[in-house]
């Protein structure tokens, strides 16, 4: 029924509507439709598709703005520095091209799966989340926004309007690796992302994040600190220490907790070895 479907073209109109009428917010649809067995989504639904202001990836003075409607394909096609390579690698592994053409990064965050492909690379980019409502806008760090499995800090009447990446995060080179039981269309057992700045063979800046190994993806901040100044890859045991201290995986159909720890250690160690290679 038409009255259950709203497709505003203006963000303020959308916020006014949402303040009055609690709605399911529709971005790419790649999580909402699989969640129903019906042939139609239950309304009321606010479709963000008509709001041009939410589209695209833009370089602003002090940051990049990834609009709430930006798809994984938009990320892949965007002219972005090597710091975003991890995000682009993740984009290529979200489902396959059909999902990449429809699914959005913002939706990936709002779905808040512990295995959300976008979160580890966005953590390495020190990304934050811009939220808007009729009450105004606010910005939360990713860690503040993702508060648990399938739980976010979104409040009633609020949507994610953009993901923000500070200009400083354009430094260095990003990386991403996903471990799954098949090659494509796979939910990860473990995934890792990194961003490293090297000067004269030494690490001067490091970000390392791991997904699918805790309630939400996490950065290995102590490992990041320990890497500063290193001229060669650290030992596996050092990586293992930080992984074990930071991550808290579970056993599930995809893998055991102990395996996830071992795999995360192995994957991070290899990424670091290749970073120095």
């Amino acid at each position: 029924m038409t009255s259950e479907y709203f497709r505003p073209t203006d963000l303020d109109d959308a916020m006014a509507l949402l303040a009055e009428t609690p709605c399911t917010v529709l971005a790419g649809g790649t999580d909402l439709y699989p969640a129903t067995k019906a042939q139609s989504l239950a309304g009321p639904v606010l479709d963000l598709d008509g709001i041009d202001g939410l589209r695209g990836i833009a370089r602003e003075a002090d940051r990049w703005r990834i609009g709430a409607r930006a798809t994984w394909t938009d990320v892949l096609r965007a002219d972005l520095p090597a710091a975003f390579d991890g995000l682009k690698l993740a984009a290529r592994e979200v489902g396959a091209v059909q999902i990449q053409n429809a699914g959005t990064l913002a939706g990936n965050l709002c779905n808040a799966s512990p295995a959300a492909d976008g979160v580890p690379p966005l953590l390495t980019l020190d990304a934050s989340v811009e939220l808007v409502s009729a009450r105004g806008a606010r910005v939360l760090s990713l860690a503040e926004f993702l508060i648990g499995p399938r739980r976010t800090a979104l409040e009633t009447g609020e949507i994610v309007s953009a993901i923000l990446v500070p200009a400083a995060s354009g430094a260095g080179r990003g990386d991403f690796r996903k471990l799954g039981a098949r090659q494509h269309l796979v939910i990860s057992i473990v995934m890792i992302a990194g961003r490293f700045v090297m000067e004269e063979g030494r690490i001067t800046f490091a970000r390392v994040a791991v997904g699918s190994c805790s309630a939400t993806a996490r950065r290995l901040t102590e490992l990041e600190d320990a890497l500063i100044g290193m001229a060669e890859a650290p030992s596996c045991s050092l990586v293992a220490k930080h992984v074990a201290e930071t991550l808290d995986p579970i056993d599930d159909v995809r893998g055991s907790a102990g395996y996830r720890i071992d795999a995360a250690v192995g994957m991070v160690s290899r990424m670091l070895a290749e970073t120095f290679a």
């Binding site: 439709y33 699989p34 139609s40 479709d47 091209v97 999902i99 039981a181 494509h184």
Partner: protein, 904 residues
Amino acid sequence: MSLDTTAPVLNVNGRMVSVGDAPLRRLSDVLREECGARGVKVGCDAGDCGACTVLMDGEAVCACLVPAARAVGAEIVTVEGLDDGIGERLKVAFLRHGAAQCGICTPGMLVSAVALLQRVDAPDEAQVEEALAGVLCRCTGYRKIIAAVCDTGRVLEPVAMPEAGAAIGARVERLDGRHKVDGTDVFGADHWPEGALVVKAVRSPHHHARFAFGDLARWRPEGCAGVWTAADVPGVNRFGVIPPFADQPMLAEGIARFRGEAVALIAFDDGFEDTDLSDFPVTWEPLAESLDEAAGAAAADLHDGRAGNILTQGFVRQGDTTAALAGAAHVATTTISTSYVEHAYIEPEAGAAWMDGETLVVQTCTQAPVMDRDDTAALLGLDPANVRIIATATGGGFGSKLDVSLHPLIGLVALKTGRPARMVYTRTESMQSTTKRHPATMTASIGTDADGRIVGMDFAGDFNTGAYASWGPTVANRVPVHASGPYRTPHYRALGRAVHTNGPVSGAFRGFGVPQAAIMQETLYDRLAEAVGMDRLAFRRLNAYRDGDTTCTGQVIHGVGIVDCLDALKPHWEAALGEAAPAGLARGVGVASCWYGCGNTSLANPSTIRVGLRADGRVVLHQGASDIGQGSNTVIAQICADAAGLPLAAFELIGPDTALTPDAGKTSASRQTYVTGKAAELAGRALRAAVLRHANAGDDARLRLDGGSVVVEDGGDVRRIALDGLPANGFGYVFMGEETYDPPVTPLDENGQGKPYAVYGYGAQMVVLDVDEGLGTVHLRRIMAAHDVGRAINPVLAEGQIEGGIAQGIGLALMEEYLPGRTENLHDYLIPTFGDVPPIESILIEKPDPEGPFGAKGLGEHVLIPTAPAILNAIRHATGAEITKLPALPHRVHAAIRAARGDD
């Protein structure tokens, strides 16, 4: 804010179509139901399978995830719109390469490929893989699809049809292929009678529960045309593929024995099918549940008369196994368990039913129309003569579409209401409620003498047959016959038991338990070869059956091609053993064999084929063998054409349809090419003989069709028979052949001695892979598959069977694990994707079988059997890891590597 109040219009394939005002409806549903684009296939409604892929402004999207409102103003292209140069070249390449088997994923593949080809003229394999990776295929193993897309740049002329007498062995494109690439083939969900009710089932959310209904008479949401339960079933509420074991109610009676079992039916008028059923008046009382074979054997009996939850057992004994193993130089012993495996055809069960006078017609996807008819009739209290099953194109089956599913459900609604009824299972409903491959827990010991000759084998396997019998007895009987593999085993004892649990019903799945048993035997063979100090291929060759050998059931076998298969692998084997692994990975090479009896075990399983020549000179083949993608429509016609000595191009096919085609049995047990093929050979010869008799010509005469005449050339003598001057029989034919063939088998005695099958096929496969020892991941590099098919009736289709079977073997080995309640969709239940099937080299060995048509043997199940053990053997070769629980998911491989190293 804009609210669109005018009737929406979609641009579909360049045509403007007004559609209903349902902005949030899935685009896939709107395209299928309102735009006439039934080539858009729906496999999951979750973006997991890609079958519904369409182009939206040139970009590939899953139409099931797109709200219809988003499509307004966009250019939508479906498979029906791929009629330009690129699209046509692509379709021709698909047909040439055999890239479409069942055809259900083909529209999604073609559309995805066009999205790529519009950007890249001549894509390489990696580009094709990435562009098409979002579409799952369960039949082909993907390699022929990659080859076809890469070949699209070349202009391919359609293959000419073979001359009379030259059909067998020709690389004929599948006769039903054009409809599949055009998206016009009619599958189970593609035909809706006008005014049909939509049927929904209420299913148990518990593995085992007592249930009671509330006030059903008062529960009538808007649009609800009726509610039915077991109390409404007019016939005997018990079905099963093996009548003496029939035990499964179409609607449960007070107790649900597995999660997903149907307890009630609801019919809705069209448009109300999305009604929320959460307030349906049923209460559940969960009962103690058993989900694996060990728990089942210890649980309270699920069925009266099946003590210890043992459905049945099969047993084969020859010689004195205990003494043989005691005297062996080397004995290897292990226990292995496997998981539930889901068939995961991309077409969920779907169909329609209606009354045609006194006859109930059910049109649906199926592997066994006549069994469907008989089961449906018994459940609904009808004479089988008053039930007609029309088989649609079937989007994959692999064994699970042998059992009835929705047939009696929609049949009951049509019968009760007098209105047509239709039903499409959701992906989850399909996975929950239809059969699976049996999980098995198997223990075996095999011994050799000091020279490496097998002296004896002792095998015992419990197979989790789930809540109802289905094909459990077949698994229990087939496994003991086959567990030796195609190897001389003078002293042998094998026991297979089918154990009831509250798991999903285990039934037929490509190999009936033999793939599980082969994992046991073939992995033990590697340990024995190592103990003896022999090359693993040579060890197998030494022990392989030869022509004239006697099997463990006391049967003398002929046309035995296993040595030929192993020899064909030898150069590849030696080359692979000399290769080094890439840095950081461990290289492994593995080999395994198979043998498999074609047709039902020790049971009659006849097929009948009718072929007639019409007065207009067309040949009509009543082809009742369900083509579920494997190619019986083509292969049976090829055999019949050569037997008749008539050109294949003159043939028209009818069926399968129980009103029009004689019973060609079921598409299972690798029996169609052999059994129905033999009937087709006999029927073709009978037709030919009738013509020759009429012409008073000799057996060597050549037949030629020339318009409405048949020309008989006998030596220098040429006779023209004008067909329209001849009387037609009751079927409308001026000449006809109808013949039945039933394999000559004998029952097995109490020691499993007898002749269970008249024909066996053989094969051996070799896998080259690399293992990442740190992560436990397995990377397949290539697979060589040598299969003795007796006679390759159609080499393209045979290769397609091999590649597709291998893909399923890869899944069995590495990723597939159905856990009821946890992996009931196609993103938690993993089947191989484009990136998981390596290049495959098929080697067709033709050692004619004395019984098979033109020497042909079955192939469909054989091809899956060696893959998993060859992979496990290669993993062990690479790392020392011995996998004892399948699938070999990364965490299990990782743990096994650590155990092999003594790390734990």
